[in-house]
Protein backbone atom coordinates (compact mmCIF):
# COMPACT_ATOMS: atom_id res chain seq x y z
CA UNK A 1 0.00 0.00 0.00
CA UNK A 2 1.23 3.45 -0.84
CA UNK A 3 1.12 5.97 1.96
CA UNK A 4 1.05 9.73 1.51
CA UNK A 5 2.80 11.84 4.12
CA UNK A 6 0.78 14.79 5.18
CA UNK A 7 1.62 18.07 6.82
CA UNK A 8 0.91 18.54 10.51
CA UNK A 9 -2.02 20.65 11.41
CA UNK A 10 -1.50 24.14 12.71
CA UNK A 11 -4.56 24.99 14.76
CA UNK A 12 -4.65 24.87 18.52
CA UNK A 13 -5.38 21.97 20.85
CA UNK A 14 -8.80 22.14 22.45
CA UNK A 15 -8.77 21.10 26.06
CA UNK A 16 -11.24 21.42 28.91
CA UNK A 17 -12.57 19.94 32.11
CA UNK A 18 -15.71 17.82 32.07
CA UNK A 19 -18.70 19.64 33.45
CA UNK A 20 -19.66 18.80 37.01
CA UNK A 21 -23.27 18.67 35.84
CA UNK A 22 -22.55 15.55 33.76
CA UNK A 23 -23.24 13.27 36.73
CA UNK A 24 -26.74 14.64 37.21
CA UNK A 25 -27.94 14.47 33.64
CA UNK A 26 -30.73 11.98 33.10
CA UNK A 27 -31.41 10.55 29.68
CA UNK A 28 -34.09 12.45 27.79
CA UNK A 29 -37.50 10.90 27.51
CA UNK A 30 -37.52 8.65 24.50
CA UNK A 31 -40.76 8.38 22.53
CA UNK A 32 -39.56 5.18 20.87
CA UNK A 33 -39.29 3.54 24.25
CA UNK A 34 -42.72 4.86 25.24
CA UNK A 35 -44.55 3.82 22.08
CA UNK A 36 -42.74 0.78 20.73
CA UNK A 37 -42.53 -2.53 22.52
CA UNK A 38 -41.02 -4.72 19.76
CA UNK A 39 -38.70 -2.49 17.69
CA UNK A 40 -37.74 -5.16 15.16
CA UNK A 41 -41.35 -6.09 14.52
CA UNK A 42 -42.77 -2.56 14.39
CA UNK A 43 -43.22 -0.28 11.40
CA UNK A 44 -44.80 3.10 10.75
CA UNK A 45 -47.48 3.73 8.16
CA UNK A 46 -49.51 6.64 6.89
CA UNK A 47 -53.31 6.42 7.14
CA UNK A 48 -55.19 7.50 4.01
CA UNK A 49 -58.95 8.03 4.14
CA UNK A 50 -61.72 8.59 6.65
CA UNK A 51 -63.14 5.14 7.44
CA UNK A 52 -61.61 5.07 10.95
CA UNK A 53 -62.55 8.57 12.12
CA UNK A 54 -64.76 7.41 15.00
CA UNK A 55 -61.72 5.64 16.47
CA UNK A 56 -59.77 8.88 16.18
CA UNK A 57 -57.75 7.90 13.15
CA UNK A 58 -57.84 10.57 10.46
CA UNK A 59 -56.38 11.11 7.04
CA UNK A 60 -52.56 11.47 7.13
CA UNK A 61 -52.19 10.24 10.70
CA UNK A 62 -49.12 8.14 11.46
CA UNK A 63 -49.86 4.59 12.55
CA UNK A 64 -47.52 2.53 14.72
CA UNK A 65 -48.01 -1.08 13.75
CA UNK A 66 -46.72 -4.07 15.71
CA UNK A 67 -46.45 -7.43 13.95
CA UNK A 68 -45.32 -9.30 17.06
CA UNK A 69 -48.64 -8.83 18.84
CA UNK A 70 -51.32 -11.45 18.30
CA UNK A 71 -54.38 -9.75 16.78
CA UNK A 72 -57.38 -10.16 19.07
CA UNK A 73 -61.09 -9.62 18.53
CA UNK A 74 -61.74 -5.86 18.59
CA UNK A 75 -58.15 -4.79 17.82
CA UNK A 76 -57.48 -2.18 15.18
CA UNK A 77 -55.36 -3.98 12.61
CA UNK A 78 -53.58 -3.40 9.36
CA UNK A 79 -54.66 -6.21 7.09
CA UNK A 80 -53.87 -7.29 3.58
CA UNK A 81 -57.16 -8.18 2.00
CA UNK A 82 -56.58 -9.69 -1.41
CA UNK A 83 -53.20 -7.97 -1.53
CA UNK A 84 -54.22 -4.44 -0.53
CA UNK A 85 -53.28 -2.87 2.80
CA UNK A 86 -56.20 -1.53 4.80
CA UNK A 87 -56.85 -0.56 8.42
CA UNK A 88 -60.02 -1.72 10.20
CA UNK A 89 -61.35 -3.15 13.45
CA UNK A 90 -61.02 -6.92 13.50
CA UNK A 91 -64.30 -8.73 14.27
CA UNK A 92 -63.15 -12.30 14.67
CA UNK A 93 -66.56 -13.65 15.70
CA UNK A 94 -68.49 -12.49 12.67
CA UNK A 95 -65.45 -12.60 10.34
CA UNK A 96 -65.74 -8.91 9.48
CA UNK A 97 -63.43 -5.95 9.10
CA UNK A 98 -65.33 -3.07 10.68
CA UNK A 99 -64.88 0.56 9.70
CA UNK A 100 -65.27 3.23 12.39
CA UNK A 101 -67.45 5.48 10.28
CA UNK A 102 -71.22 5.11 9.93
CA UNK A 103 -71.08 6.02 6.29
CA UNK A 104 -69.10 2.89 5.48
CA UNK A 105 -69.98 -0.77 5.47
CA UNK A 106 -68.23 -3.65 7.19
CA UNK A 107 -66.08 -5.73 4.87
CA UNK A 108 -66.87 -9.43 5.11
CA UNK A 109 -63.89 -11.76 5.10
CA UNK A 110 -65.13 -14.18 2.49
CA UNK A 111 -64.19 -17.84 2.64
CA UNK A 112 -62.39 -17.46 -0.66
CA UNK A 113 -60.64 -14.18 -0.01
CA UNK A 114 -57.32 -14.22 1.72
CA UNK A 115 -56.96 -12.11 4.84
CA UNK A 116 -53.50 -11.64 6.27
CA UNK A 117 -52.99 -9.54 9.36
CA UNK A 118 -50.02 -7.23 8.80
CA UNK A 119 -49.89 -6.08 12.39
CA UNK A 120 -51.89 -4.51 15.20
CA UNK A 121 -52.16 -0.70 15.29
CA UNK A 122 -50.88 0.00 18.81
CA UNK A 123 -50.86 3.80 18.55
CA UNK A 124 -51.85 6.42 16.05
CA UNK A 125 -50.36 9.87 15.95
CA UNK A 126 -52.49 12.87 15.06
CA UNK A 127 -50.56 15.78 13.61
CA UNK A 128 -52.16 19.02 14.71
CA UNK A 129 -50.17 21.24 12.43
CA UNK A 130 -49.72 20.76 8.73
CA UNK A 131 -46.65 18.64 8.00
CA UNK A 132 -45.19 21.16 5.56
CA UNK A 133 -45.62 23.96 8.11
CA UNK A 134 -43.87 21.89 10.76
CA UNK A 135 -40.92 21.29 8.50
CA UNK A 136 -40.69 24.95 7.61
CA UNK A 137 -40.52 26.07 11.22
CA UNK A 138 -37.86 23.45 11.95
CA UNK A 139 -35.77 24.68 9.06
CA UNK A 140 -36.10 28.23 10.35
CA UNK A 141 -34.85 27.22 13.75
CA UNK A 142 -31.87 25.42 12.30
CA UNK A 143 -30.75 28.37 10.26
CA UNK A 144 -30.96 30.84 13.11
Amino acid sequence: MKVIKLPKFAHAVQAGFPSAADDFIEAQLDLNEHLIEHPSATYLARAQGSSMKDQGIFNNDTLIVDRAREAEHGDIVVAALDGELTCKILDKQRRLLLPANNAMRPVPIGDNSELIIEGVVIHSIRHHIRQDRKQRSKTNRQTT
Binding site: M1, K2, V3, I4, K5, L6, P7, K8, F9, A10, H11, A12, V13, Q14, H38, P39, S40, A41, Y43, L44, A45, R46, A47, Q48, G49, S50, S51, M52, I57, N59, T62, L63, R67, A68, V78, A80, G83, E84, L85, T86, C87, K88, P99, M104, I116, E118, K138, Q142
Partner: protein, 418 residues
Protein backbone atom coordinates in the same frame (compact mmCIF):
# COMPACT_ATOMS: atom_id res chain seq x y z
CA UNK B 1 -24.79 -27.53 17.88
CA UNK B 2 -24.81 -24.77 15.30
CA UNK B 3 -27.53 -23.30 13.13
CA UNK B 4 -27.24 -21.32 9.95
CA UNK B 5 -30.27 -19.12 9.34
CA UNK B 6 -30.46 -17.83 5.79
CA UNK B 7 -33.00 -15.41 4.31
CA UNK B 8 -34.59 -16.94 1.22
CA UNK B 9 -34.00 -14.81 -1.90
CA UNK B 10 -33.16 -12.03 0.53
CA UNK B 11 -33.39 -8.90 -1.63
CA UNK B 12 -36.47 -10.08 -3.50
CA UNK B 13 -38.13 -10.98 -0.18
CA UNK B 14 -37.31 -7.52 1.23
CA UNK B 15 -39.21 -5.99 -1.69
CA UNK B 16 -42.24 -8.10 -0.71
CA UNK B 17 -42.29 -7.14 2.98
CA UNK B 18 -44.52 -4.07 2.49
CA UNK B 19 -46.09 -5.30 -0.74
CA UNK B 20 -48.40 -8.19 0.19
CA UNK B 21 -49.73 -8.00 -3.37
CA UNK B 22 -46.32 -9.20 -4.61
CA UNK B 23 -45.92 -12.18 -2.29
CA UNK B 24 -46.02 -15.47 -4.22
CA UNK B 25 -45.35 -13.51 -7.42
CA UNK B 26 -42.23 -13.35 -9.57
CA UNK B 27 -39.97 -10.52 -8.34
CA UNK B 28 -36.41 -9.71 -9.37
CA UNK B 29 -33.85 -7.20 -8.15
CA UNK B 30 -31.23 -5.54 -10.37
CA UNK B 31 -27.66 -4.70 -9.36
CA UNK B 32 -26.31 -1.17 -8.93
CA UNK B 33 -27.04 0.66 -12.14
CA UNK B 34 -29.81 -1.75 -13.12
CA UNK B 35 -27.18 -3.87 -14.85
CA UNK B 36 -27.67 -7.49 -13.84
CA UNK B 37 -30.25 -9.60 -12.08
CA UNK B 38 -28.96 -10.20 -8.54
CA UNK B 39 -31.99 -11.67 -6.78
CA UNK B 40 -35.00 -13.69 -7.83
CA UNK B 41 -38.03 -14.71 -5.82
CA UNK B 42 -38.92 -18.40 -5.78
CA UNK B 43 -41.55 -17.77 -8.43
CA UNK B 44 -39.07 -15.91 -10.65
CA UNK B 45 -36.65 -18.83 -10.36
CA UNK B 46 -39.48 -21.15 -11.37
CA UNK B 47 -39.97 -19.11 -14.56
CA UNK B 48 -36.41 -20.08 -15.45
CA UNK B 49 -34.99 -16.56 -15.06
CA UNK B 50 -31.23 -17.07 -14.70
CA UNK B 51 -29.12 -15.40 -12.02
CA UNK B 52 -26.60 -12.65 -12.83
CA UNK B 53 -27.89 -12.13 -16.36
CA UNK B 54 -27.80 -8.65 -17.93
CA UNK B 55 -31.22 -7.11 -17.51
CA UNK B 56 -31.49 -5.75 -21.07
CA UNK B 57 -31.21 -9.25 -22.54
CA UNK B 58 -34.33 -10.42 -20.71
CA UNK B 59 -36.37 -7.23 -20.77
CA UNK B 60 -38.97 -8.51 -23.24
CA UNK B 61 -39.40 -11.86 -21.54
CA UNK B 62 -39.75 -10.26 -18.09
CA UNK B 63 -42.45 -7.89 -19.29
CA UNK B 64 -44.33 -10.65 -21.02
CA UNK B 65 -44.28 -12.78 -17.84
CA UNK B 66 -45.44 -9.88 -15.65
CA UNK B 67 -42.34 -10.01 -13.46
CA UNK B 68 -42.00 -7.15 -10.95
CA UNK B 69 -38.61 -5.48 -11.30
CA UNK B 70 -36.76 -3.48 -8.64
CA UNK B 71 -33.51 -1.52 -8.54
CA UNK B 72 -31.38 -2.59 -5.58
CA UNK B 73 -32.57 -0.66 -2.52
CA UNK B 74 -29.82 -1.32 0.01
CA UNK B 75 -31.27 1.12 2.51
CA UNK B 76 -34.32 -1.12 2.77
CA UNK B 77 -32.33 -4.39 2.70
CA UNK B 78 -29.98 -3.15 5.41
CA UNK B 79 -32.86 -2.28 7.72
CA UNK B 80 -34.78 -5.51 7.14
CA UNK B 81 -31.59 -7.53 7.64
CA UNK B 82 -30.93 -5.68 10.88
CA UNK B 83 -34.42 -6.57 12.10
CA UNK B 84 -33.88 -10.24 11.26
CA UNK B 85 -30.51 -10.32 13.01
CA UNK B 86 -31.79 -8.52 16.10
CA UNK B 87 -34.63 -11.00 16.44
CA UNK B 88 -32.29 -13.98 15.94
CA UNK B 89 -30.08 -12.82 18.80
CA UNK B 90 -32.87 -13.79 21.17
CA UNK B 91 -32.46 -17.43 20.18
CA UNK B 92 -28.81 -18.10 20.93
CA UNK B 93 -26.13 -16.99 23.35
CA UNK B 94 -23.59 -16.64 20.57
CA UNK B 95 -24.27 -15.33 17.09
CA UNK B 96 -22.16 -14.53 14.07
CA UNK B 97 -23.48 -12.26 11.33
CA UNK B 98 -21.96 -13.97 8.33
CA UNK B 99 -23.43 -11.76 5.62
CA UNK B 100 -26.40 -9.47 5.03
CA UNK B 101 -28.67 -12.52 4.79
CA UNK B 102 -26.97 -15.24 6.83
CA UNK B 103 -26.35 -15.69 10.51
CA UNK B 104 -24.75 -18.51 12.49
CA UNK B 105 -26.18 -19.29 15.91
CA UNK B 106 -24.53 -21.58 18.40
CA UNK B 107 -26.70 -23.64 20.72
CA UNK B 108 -25.19 -24.98 23.90
CA UNK B 109 -27.44 -26.34 26.56
CA UNK B 110 -30.60 -25.50 24.65
CA UNK B 111 -33.73 -27.52 23.95
CA UNK B 112 -33.15 -31.08 22.75
CA UNK B 113 -35.77 -30.77 20.10
CA UNK B 114 -33.81 -28.55 17.76
CA UNK B 115 -36.10 -29.28 14.86
CA UNK B 116 -39.04 -27.70 16.65
CA UNK B 117 -36.79 -24.88 17.82
CA UNK B 118 -35.75 -24.29 14.19
CA UNK B 119 -39.41 -24.11 13.15
CA UNK B 120 -40.07 -21.67 15.95
CA UNK B 121 -37.26 -19.42 14.71
CA UNK B 122 -38.53 -19.60 11.15
CA UNK B 123 -42.11 -18.75 12.13
CA UNK B 124 -41.04 -15.92 14.42
CA UNK B 125 -38.95 -14.23 11.69
CA UNK B 126 -41.88 -14.51 9.31
CA UNK B 127 -44.38 -13.15 11.85
CA UNK B 128 -42.24 -10.23 13.03
CA UNK B 129 -40.38 -9.19 9.91
CA UNK B 130 -42.14 -11.01 7.03
CA UNK B 131 -38.87 -12.53 5.90
CA UNK B 132 -38.90 -16.18 4.85
CA UNK B 133 -35.86 -18.02 6.20
CA UNK B 134 -34.34 -21.49 6.06
CA UNK B 135 -32.67 -23.05 9.08
CA UNK B 136 -29.93 -25.69 8.99
CA UNK B 137 -28.87 -27.28 12.27
CA UNK B 138 -25.84 -29.55 12.73
CA UNK B 139 -22.84 -30.20 15.00
CA UNK B 140 -20.44 -28.00 12.98
CA UNK B 141 -20.69 -24.78 10.99
CA UNK B 142 -19.81 -26.53 7.72
CA UNK B 143 -22.53 -29.12 8.30
CA UNK B 144 -24.99 -26.39 9.32
CA UNK B 145 -24.36 -24.73 5.95
CA UNK B 146 -25.03 -28.05 4.28
CA UNK B 147 -28.17 -28.59 6.34
CA UNK B 148 -29.37 -25.17 5.27
CA UNK B 149 -28.83 -26.08 1.63
CA UNK B 150 -30.88 -29.25 2.16
CA UNK B 151 -33.62 -27.27 3.96
CA UNK B 152 -34.02 -25.15 0.84
CA UNK B 153 -33.91 -27.99 -1.69
CA UNK B 154 -36.06 -30.62 -0.01
CA UNK B 155 -39.55 -29.21 0.22
CA UNK B 156 -40.95 -31.74 2.69
CA UNK B 157 -38.49 -30.46 5.32
CA UNK B 158 -40.52 -27.23 5.43
CA UNK B 159 -37.48 -24.98 5.61
CA UNK B 160 -35.78 -26.60 8.59
CA UNK B 161 -33.19 -29.36 8.35
CA UNK B 162 -31.48 -31.05 11.29
CA UNK B 163 -28.42 -33.15 10.50
CA UNK B 164 -27.64 -34.61 13.91
CA UNK B 165 -26.43 -38.10 13.02
CA UNK B 166 -23.73 -39.36 10.67
CA UNK B 167 -26.35 -41.32 8.79
CA UNK B 168 -28.31 -38.16 7.99
CA UNK B 169 -25.40 -35.95 6.96
CA UNK B 170 -23.82 -38.70 4.88
CA UNK B 171 -27.10 -39.11 3.01
CA UNK B 172 -26.92 -35.44 2.00
CA UNK B 173 -23.17 -35.51 1.37
CA UNK B 174 -23.45 -38.41 -1.07
CA UNK B 175 -25.94 -36.45 -3.18
CA UNK B 176 -24.10 -33.17 -3.58
CA UNK B 177 -20.96 -32.24 -5.56
CA UNK B 178 -17.92 -31.23 -3.54
CA UNK B 179 -18.16 -27.63 -4.77
CA UNK B 180 -21.26 -27.17 -2.59
CA UNK B 181 -19.14 -27.35 0.55
CA UNK B 182 -18.66 -24.10 2.42
CA UNK B 183 -15.19 -22.80 1.58
CA UNK B 184 -14.48 -25.01 -1.43
CA UNK B 185 -14.26 -22.80 -4.51
CA UNK B 186 -14.53 -23.91 -8.10
CA UNK B 187 -10.73 -24.05 -8.55
CA UNK B 188 -10.18 -26.30 -5.55
CA UNK B 189 -13.22 -28.23 -6.71
CA UNK B 190 -11.64 -28.95 -10.08
CA UNK B 191 -8.42 -30.12 -8.47
CA UNK B 192 -10.38 -32.36 -6.12
CA UNK B 193 -12.23 -33.81 -9.10
CA UNK B 194 -8.96 -34.79 -10.78
CA UNK B 195 -8.07 -36.61 -7.55
CA UNK B 196 -11.30 -38.58 -7.84
CA UNK B 197 -13.12 -36.60 -5.14
CA UNK B 198 -16.49 -35.72 -6.63
CA UNK B 199 -19.17 -35.81 -3.96
CA UNK B 200 -19.00 -34.17 -0.56
CA UNK B 201 -18.93 -37.63 0.96
CA UNK B 202 -15.74 -38.40 -1.02
CA UNK B 203 -14.12 -35.39 0.62
CA UNK B 204 -15.43 -36.31 4.08
CA UNK B 205 -13.77 -39.73 3.71
CA UNK B 206 -10.43 -38.40 2.43
CA UNK B 207 -7.40 -38.55 4.70
CA UNK B 208 -7.26 -35.15 6.43
CA UNK B 209 -3.47 -35.12 7.00
CA UNK B 210 -2.82 -36.03 3.40
CA UNK B 211 -5.23 -33.36 2.15
CA UNK B 212 -3.58 -30.79 4.39
CA UNK B 213 -0.25 -31.47 2.66
CA UNK B 214 -1.86 -31.28 -0.78
CA UNK B 215 -3.84 -28.11 -0.08
CA UNK B 216 -3.78 -26.26 3.22
CA UNK B 217 -4.91 -26.39 6.82
CA UNK B 218 -8.37 -25.09 5.92
CA UNK B 219 -9.28 -28.20 3.99
CA UNK B 220 -8.25 -30.34 6.95
CA UNK B 221 -10.63 -28.31 9.12
CA UNK B 222 -13.37 -28.69 6.54
CA UNK B 223 -12.97 -32.48 6.57
CA UNK B 224 -13.07 -32.55 10.37
CA UNK B 225 -16.24 -30.45 10.28
CA UNK B 226 -17.86 -32.64 7.61
CA UNK B 227 -17.47 -35.55 10.01
CA UNK B 228 -19.36 -33.81 12.79
CA UNK B 229 -16.55 -32.33 14.88
CA UNK B 230 -16.50 -28.52 15.09
CA UNK B 231 -13.17 -27.04 13.98
CA UNK B 232 -14.18 -23.54 12.90
CA UNK B 233 -15.03 -21.14 15.72
CA UNK B 234 -17.83 -18.65 15.80
CA UNK B 235 -16.64 -15.21 14.84
CA UNK B 236 -18.87 -13.28 17.14
CA UNK B 237 -19.30 -9.75 16.05
CA UNK B 238 -16.74 -7.20 16.81
CA UNK B 239 -18.86 -4.14 17.36
CA UNK B 240 -18.40 -1.46 16.25
CA UNK B 241 -17.22 -2.18 12.75
CA UNK B 242 -13.49 -2.13 12.16
CA UNK B 243 -13.74 -0.93 8.58
CA UNK B 244 -16.30 1.00 6.62
CA UNK B 245 -16.33 0.94 2.86
CA UNK B 246 -18.40 2.88 0.39
CA UNK B 247 -17.85 1.80 -3.21
CA UNK B 248 -19.92 2.31 -6.32
CA UNK B 249 -19.94 1.59 -10.03
CA UNK B 250 -20.63 4.61 -12.18
CA UNK B 251 -23.79 4.89 -14.23
CA UNK B 252 -22.11 7.17 -16.69
CA UNK B 253 -18.37 6.42 -16.87
CA UNK B 254 -16.48 9.65 -16.18
CA UNK B 255 -13.03 10.43 -17.57
CA UNK B 256 -12.31 13.72 -15.85
CA UNK B 257 -10.76 14.43 -12.48
CA UNK B 258 -13.60 16.69 -11.37
CA UNK B 259 -16.23 13.94 -11.60
CA UNK B 260 -14.01 11.48 -9.76
CA UNK B 261 -13.34 13.95 -6.99
CA UNK B 262 -16.97 14.88 -6.52
CA UNK B 263 -18.03 11.25 -6.40
CA UNK B 264 -15.26 10.36 -3.94
CA UNK B 265 -16.36 13.27 -1.77
CA UNK B 266 -19.91 11.95 -1.76
CA UNK B 267 -18.80 8.40 -0.84
CA UNK B 268 -16.58 9.81 1.88
CA UNK B 269 -19.53 11.76 3.24
CA UNK B 270 -21.62 8.59 3.38
CA UNK B 271 -18.86 6.57 5.03
CA UNK B 272 -18.19 9.36 7.54
CA UNK B 273 -21.86 9.41 8.46
CA UNK B 274 -21.73 5.68 9.23
CA UNK B 275 -18.57 6.30 11.22
CA UNK B 276 -20.32 8.91 13.36
CA UNK B 277 -23.35 6.65 13.76
CA UNK B 278 -21.18 4.15 15.60
CA UNK B 279 -19.41 6.89 17.57
CA UNK B 280 -16.00 6.21 16.08
CA UNK B 281 -13.30 8.09 14.27
CA UNK B 282 -10.67 7.01 11.79
CA UNK B 283 -6.95 7.63 11.48
CA UNK B 284 -6.54 6.34 7.93
CA UNK B 285 -8.49 6.05 4.74
CA UNK B 286 -8.08 4.10 1.57
CA UNK B 287 -9.13 5.49 -1.78
CA UNK B 288 -9.35 3.63 -5.05
CA UNK B 289 -10.45 4.26 -8.59
CA UNK B 290 -10.52 1.72 -11.39
CA UNK B 291 -11.25 1.45 -15.07
CA UNK B 292 -13.50 -1.19 -16.52
CA UNK B 293 -11.74 -4.54 -16.60
CA UNK B 294 -12.77 -4.85 -20.24
CA UNK B 295 -10.61 -1.87 -21.10
CA UNK B 296 -7.44 -2.54 -23.12
CA UNK B 297 -5.12 -1.37 -20.38
CA UNK B 298 -6.96 -1.93 -17.14
CA UNK B 299 -5.97 0.49 -14.41
CA UNK B 300 -6.65 0.11 -10.75
CA UNK B 301 -5.22 2.78 -8.50
CA UNK B 302 -5.40 2.69 -4.74
CA UNK B 303 -3.85 4.73 -2.03
CA UNK B 304 -3.88 4.76 1.73
CA UNK B 305 -3.85 8.11 3.42
CA UNK B 306 -2.72 8.34 7.01
CA UNK B 307 -4.38 11.29 8.62
CA UNK B 308 -2.58 13.65 10.98
CA UNK B 309 -5.11 12.81 13.68
CA UNK B 310 -8.15 10.61 14.09
CA UNK B 311 -11.29 12.36 12.95
CA UNK B 312 -14.93 11.87 12.01
CA UNK B 313 -15.27 15.23 10.28
CA UNK B 314 -16.57 14.84 6.72
CA UNK B 315 -14.69 17.95 5.64
CA UNK B 316 -11.30 16.69 6.79
CA UNK B 317 -11.84 13.19 5.40
CA UNK B 318 -13.15 14.51 2.13
CA UNK B 319 -10.19 16.87 1.77
CA UNK B 320 -7.69 14.02 1.98
CA UNK B 321 -9.74 11.68 -0.16
CA UNK B 322 -9.68 14.31 -2.89
CA UNK B 323 -5.91 14.73 -2.59
CA UNK B 324 -5.55 10.97 -3.00
CA UNK B 325 -7.74 10.92 -6.10
CA UNK B 326 -5.64 13.68 -7.60
CA UNK B 327 -2.56 11.50 -7.18
CA UNK B 328 -4.25 8.39 -8.52
CA UNK B 329 -5.86 10.05 -11.50
CA UNK B 330 -4.58 9.13 -14.97
CA UNK B 331 -6.03 11.13 -17.87
CA UNK B 332 -7.48 9.69 -21.08
CA UNK B 333 -9.28 6.84 -19.41
CA UNK B 334 -12.86 6.12 -18.50
CA UNK B 335 -13.42 5.08 -14.91
CA UNK B 336 -15.91 2.39 -13.94
CA UNK B 337 -15.63 2.25 -10.16
CA UNK B 338 -14.44 4.31 -7.27
CA UNK B 339 -14.56 3.90 -3.55
CA UNK B 340 -13.35 4.91 -0.18
CA UNK B 341 -12.63 2.86 2.91
CA UNK B 342 -12.18 4.07 6.46
CA UNK B 343 -9.66 1.53 7.65
CA UNK B 344 -8.16 2.53 10.99
CA UNK B 345 -11.24 2.99 13.10
CA UNK B 346 -11.30 3.50 16.83
CA UNK B 347 -13.95 4.43 19.34
CA UNK B 348 -14.33 8.09 20.20
CA UNK B 349 -14.73 7.21 23.86
CA UNK B 350 -11.27 5.76 24.34
CA UNK B 351 -9.27 7.95 22.09
CA UNK B 352 -5.56 8.36 22.53
CA UNK B 353 -4.92 12.06 22.28
CA UNK B 354 -1.49 13.14 21.20
CA UNK B 355 -0.72 16.28 23.13
CA UNK B 356 1.32 17.82 20.35
CA UNK B 357 -1.16 17.01 17.66
CA UNK B 358 -4.28 19.02 17.22
CA UNK B 359 -7.71 17.45 17.18
CA UNK B 360 -10.96 18.44 15.60
CA UNK B 361 -12.34 21.73 16.66
CA UNK B 362 -15.26 21.16 19.08
CA UNK B 363 -17.46 23.16 16.76
CA UNK B 364 -16.86 20.55 14.09
CA UNK B 365 -18.73 18.00 16.17
CA UNK B 366 -21.77 20.27 16.38
CA UNK B 367 -21.64 20.89 12.65
CA UNK B 368 -21.41 17.18 11.82
CA UNK B 369 -24.33 16.43 14.15
CA UNK B 370 -26.42 19.04 12.39
CA UNK B 371 -25.42 17.70 8.99
CA UNK B 372 -26.44 14.15 10.00
CA UNK B 373 -29.72 15.38 11.43
CA UNK B 374 -30.67 17.23 8.28
CA UNK B 375 -29.78 14.30 6.05
CA UNK B 376 -31.60 11.90 8.28
CA UNK B 377 -34.75 13.96 8.26
CA UNK B 378 -34.83 15.05 4.65
CA UNK B 379 -33.07 12.14 2.99
CA UNK B 380 -29.46 11.59 2.02
CA UNK B 381 -27.96 14.34 -0.05
CA UNK B 382 -30.18 17.13 1.32
CA UNK B 383 -27.18 18.90 2.80
CA UNK B 384 -23.72 18.20 1.41
CA UNK B 385 -20.30 19.68 0.83
CA UNK B 386 -19.88 21.76 -2.29
CA UNK B 387 -17.00 19.36 -2.99
CA UNK B 388 -19.54 16.63 -3.74
CA UNK B 389 -20.61 18.57 -6.83
CA UNK B 390 -24.03 19.83 -7.77
CA UNK B 391 -24.96 17.71 -10.73
CA UNK B 392 -24.03 14.22 -9.61
CA UNK B 393 -24.04 12.93 -13.17
CA UNK B 394 -22.31 9.82 -11.90
CA UNK B 395 -25.35 8.90 -9.81
CA UNK B 396 -26.53 5.37 -10.34
CA UNK B 397 -29.29 4.46 -12.69
CA UNK B 398 -32.13 3.23 -10.48
CA UNK B 399 -35.21 3.27 -12.61
CA UNK B 400 -37.19 0.83 -10.45
CA UNK B 401 -36.30 1.93 -6.93
CA UNK B 402 -38.81 1.06 -4.22
CA UNK B 403 -39.50 3.42 -1.29
CA UNK B 404 -37.24 3.31 1.78
CA UNK B 405 -40.27 2.13 3.77
CA UNK B 406 -38.60 1.98 7.16
CA UNK B 407 -35.99 4.71 7.04
CA UNK B 408 -37.50 7.79 5.41
CA UNK B 409 -40.60 9.67 6.58
CA UNK B 410 -41.87 10.43 3.09
CA UNK B 411 -41.58 6.75 2.21
CA UNK B 412 -43.47 4.98 5.01
CA UNK B 413 -46.11 2.60 3.63
CA UNK B 414 -49.57 3.99 2.96
CA UNK B 415 -52.59 2.21 4.38
CA UNK B 416 -55.86 2.83 2.55
CA UNK B 417 -58.70 3.19 5.01
CA UNK B 418 -61.33 3.75 2.33
Amino acid sequence: MFALVDCNSCYASCEQVFRPDLRDKPVIVLSNNDGCIIARSKEAKRLGIPDLQPYFKLKGFLRQQGVSIFSANFTLYGDISHRVMTTLREYAAEVEVYSIDEMFLSFDGLPDDLKTYGQEIKQRIWRDVRMPVSVGVAPSKTLAKLANHAAKKISRLDGVCLLDTAEKWQWVQARLPVTKVWGIGSRTGKRLNTMGIRSILDLARANPKHMRREFNVNIERTITELNGTPAIDMETDVEPRQQIYCTRSFGHKPGDLYSLQTSISAYTARAAEKLRDQNSETKALQVFISCSRFEEEPYHGQQVVELPYATDDTRVLSHYARLAVEQLYRPNRLYARAGVGLIDIRSKDFQQRDFFYPTDNPRSEALMKTLDKINHRYGHGSAFLAAEGQKKRWRMRQAFLSPAYTTRWQDIPRVMLG
